[in-house]
């Protein structure tokens, strides 16, 4: 599997376009944004359907509860803002006003992870997946490319209950084919392998795929699993792969505390204990810089993954 990293697409534009398409089909769709519609791309929907777009201004808590109220009238709200605000600023509102009553509200949060870039730590959410995953009833999805984004948004629209979709600010190359189908309970094995399992989502997935190509040259067959759904975690694929390779790495643009790595390790430690390594932001805050520089700084590139895989495979073989 070869990824063309030269052609990158915007996940946010894919979201805005999909939302607008869905809006044409279903007039119950309403969109709430908190003064970031130009960034989140809900502006596309707003231009097409001004009567169904509500801007709360800089008020994320109000936005979440406004959506809760709208959902009780049979509307299907999509709430968008940056991941740091949707998950952090408005966590109590998400928990109490939406998740507890299991209202049909979709959160599409953009600018997840350190690749927010120059804005720095205040805007770089490395905790949102952890925060959202801990709330009962919540579905947590981290798409890796524009194709998966479109399908995840369609899923969120069809699913009756709260969904959190986390998008990156950076554009990513398409790793999924045009025949891609989103399945809530099924991850995708993109590359089959026998020596080690690499599990990723979001922007780091293409790095994991590149890393697998590098490993091939030193005769390490890495299995690469795309796991966009962090909750509920796909136990079956995980256990099957872990049983085959005996060593599992997780790679994510998020803290190693509470995100994909934690979800995978929780599942494996209870069902199929094996050697694991969580790679992500190592329980620290981000900082200003270019997105590409930050990926290098926080060890979220194919080169860094490569070193980690070699160490893990060595550990496995010396057992």
């Amino acid at each position: 599997m070869v990824i063309n990293k030269a052609i990158k697409k915007s996940l946010r534009v894919a979201y805005g376009e999909t939302l607008t398409e869905l809006g044409k089909k279903d007039e119950n769709i309403v969109v709430i944004d908190s003064d970031l519609s130009c960034s989140t791309q809900t502006q596309m929907f707003a231009k097409e359907f001004p009567d169904r777009f509500f801007n709360t201004g800089v008020a994320e808590q109000d936005a979440v509860c406004l959506a809760a109220g709208l959902s009780t009238c049979g509307k299907i709200p999509f709430v968008s803002t940056f991941a740091i605000f949707a998950s952090g600023r408005a966590w109590d509102q998400v928990r109490n006003s939406v998740a507890h009553p299991k209202f049909n509200v979709n959160f599409v949060a953009t600018h997840g992870g350190v690749t927010v870039g120059e804005d720095g730590a205040s805007h770089q959410s490395v905790e949102d997946i952890s925060l959202m995953r801990s709330i009962p009833h919540m579905i947590v999805i981290v798409p890796s490319d524009s194709i998966e984004t479109r399908e995840a948004i369609k899923f969120a629209y069809e699913y009756n209950g709260p969904v959190y979709v986390r998008l990156s600010r950076s554009n990513t190359p398409d790793v999924n084919g045009s025949d891609y189908k989103f399945e809530l309970n099924k991850s995708k094995v993109l590359i089959e392998g026998t020596d080690v399992t690499m599990i990723s989502n979001g922007e780091t997935l293409c790095e994991a795929l590149e890393c697998a190509q590098m490993l091939k040259k030193v005769n390490i067959n890495a299995e690469v699993i795309s796991m966009p759904v962090v909750k509920p975690v796909d136990k079956e694929t995980l256990i099957k792969s872990a049983a085959k390779t005996g060593a599992v790495l997780t790679l994510e643009n998020h803290s190693v505390v509470g995100g994909l790595g934690s979800a995978v390790c929780e599942c494996l430690s209870e069902n199929h204990p094996c050697i694991t390594k969580r790679i992500g932001v190592n329980d620290e805050f981000g900082q200003s810089g270019k997105a590409e520089e930050l990926l290098v700084k926080y060890g979220l590139t194919a080169d860094k993954f490569y070193d980690e895989v070699l160490t893990l495979v060595e550990k496995k073989n010396s057992k």
Binding site: V30, D51, R52, F54, T56, G57, A59, Q61, D62, V64, C65, L66, A67, A68, G69, L70, S71, T72, C73, G74, K75, P77, D92, Q93, R95, N96, S97, H100, P101, K102, F103
Partner: protein, 285 residues
């Protein structure tokens, strides 16, 4: 101004009797649960009762009623007064009065704070303060999108409006000209730690809301005639001014029982059996 709508003497007498019954039930529920919010449950009795008995279009059969989609909504933003809402719904025939005794107990539909999806009449989940007005705004917008003529009523605590989100929501209501939204503040002047003006002052409340673009009315929140008149007036006023209406209902925390009135210490405390008997005697007169 149009002539104020008034309740007849008979209606007043009947409502007064129901209010007594609700107060009794609130105290019995909290005593049985050995937990609950006595003071803040007694202060909004007349407001909630008048809404359900006289001002709201609603259906005790809840979503089994074919007209359910055309109901007015009530949101208890100060969710800790759940006992008052439950006791009122029981009086309105939403469910059997006996169920009130399960309040706050394991497996009960009458959770400590109103919880959506369990009991008929509960529109949303509240309890974490400051969120009800935003939700009411969402419902008001939803009703407008569906071109429904219904109203949304929301009751806030006075201490509650110290939550910043209330003011985010206040701006939203005015910005979207929510003339189908009527809010009431249960202005009992006490919060857990004491007098609201000492904990963190709220006055001048009317000017605060006016400056946020609301129409403001102020009433005695225990006077049934005044409550009814204000709510019915608010329905018209909102339409005339294309604005949301706030009714500041001046109330007494712990109202109806001499030893609980105006005592912050009764905010979250149940009565023991002896206190309950004394209180019931006073309410029954």
């Amino acid at each position: 101004m149009t002539e104020q709508k008034r309740l007849s003497e008979e209606e007043l007498k009947n409502l007064e009797e129901v209010a007594k019954k609700i107060r009794e039930n609130i105290l019995i529920m909290i005593n049985t649960a050995k937990s609950g919010h006595t003071g803040g449950s007694l202060s909004p009795v007349e407001v909630i009762l008048t809404l359900y008995a006289k001002c709201m279009t609603h259906y005790k059969d809840w979503h089994n009623s074919p007209e359910w989609g055309n109901r007015d909504r009530f949101i208890l933003s100060k969710g800790h007064a759940s006992a008052t809402l439950y006791a009122t719904l029981a009086q309105m025939g939403y469910f059997d009065e006996h169920e009130l005794l399960t309040f706050r107990k394991l497996g009960s539909r009458l959770q400590g704070h109103p919880t959506f999806g369990l009991l008929p009449g509960i529109e949303v989940s509240t309890g974490s303060l400051g969120q009800g007005l935003s939700m009411a705004n969402g419902i008001a917008l939803g009703l407008k999108l569906d071109k429904k003529e219904n109203y949304v009523f929301v009751l806030l605590g006075d201490g509650e409006i110290q939550e910043g989100q209330v003011w985010e929501a206040a701006m939203t209501s005015a910005h979207y000209k929510m003339d189908n939204l009527i809010a009431v503040i249960d202005r009992n002047r006490l919060q857990i730690d004491g007098d609201t003006e000492q904990v963190k002052s709220l006055d001048p409340l009317d000017k605060k809301w006016e400056s946020f673009g609301w129409q403001v009315l102020e009433i005695d929140g225990h006077n049934l005639q005044e409550i009814y008149g204000a709510i019915e007036h608010a329905k018209e006023l909102g339409k005339q001014k294309s604005a949301p209406v706030m009714i500041i209902a001046n109330t007494i925390k712990g109202k109806g029982v001499t030893f609980t009135e105006n005592q912050a210490s009764w905010h979250g405390k149940p009565m023991n059996d002896e206190e309950l008997q004394k209180a019931l005697q006073e309410i029954r007169g």
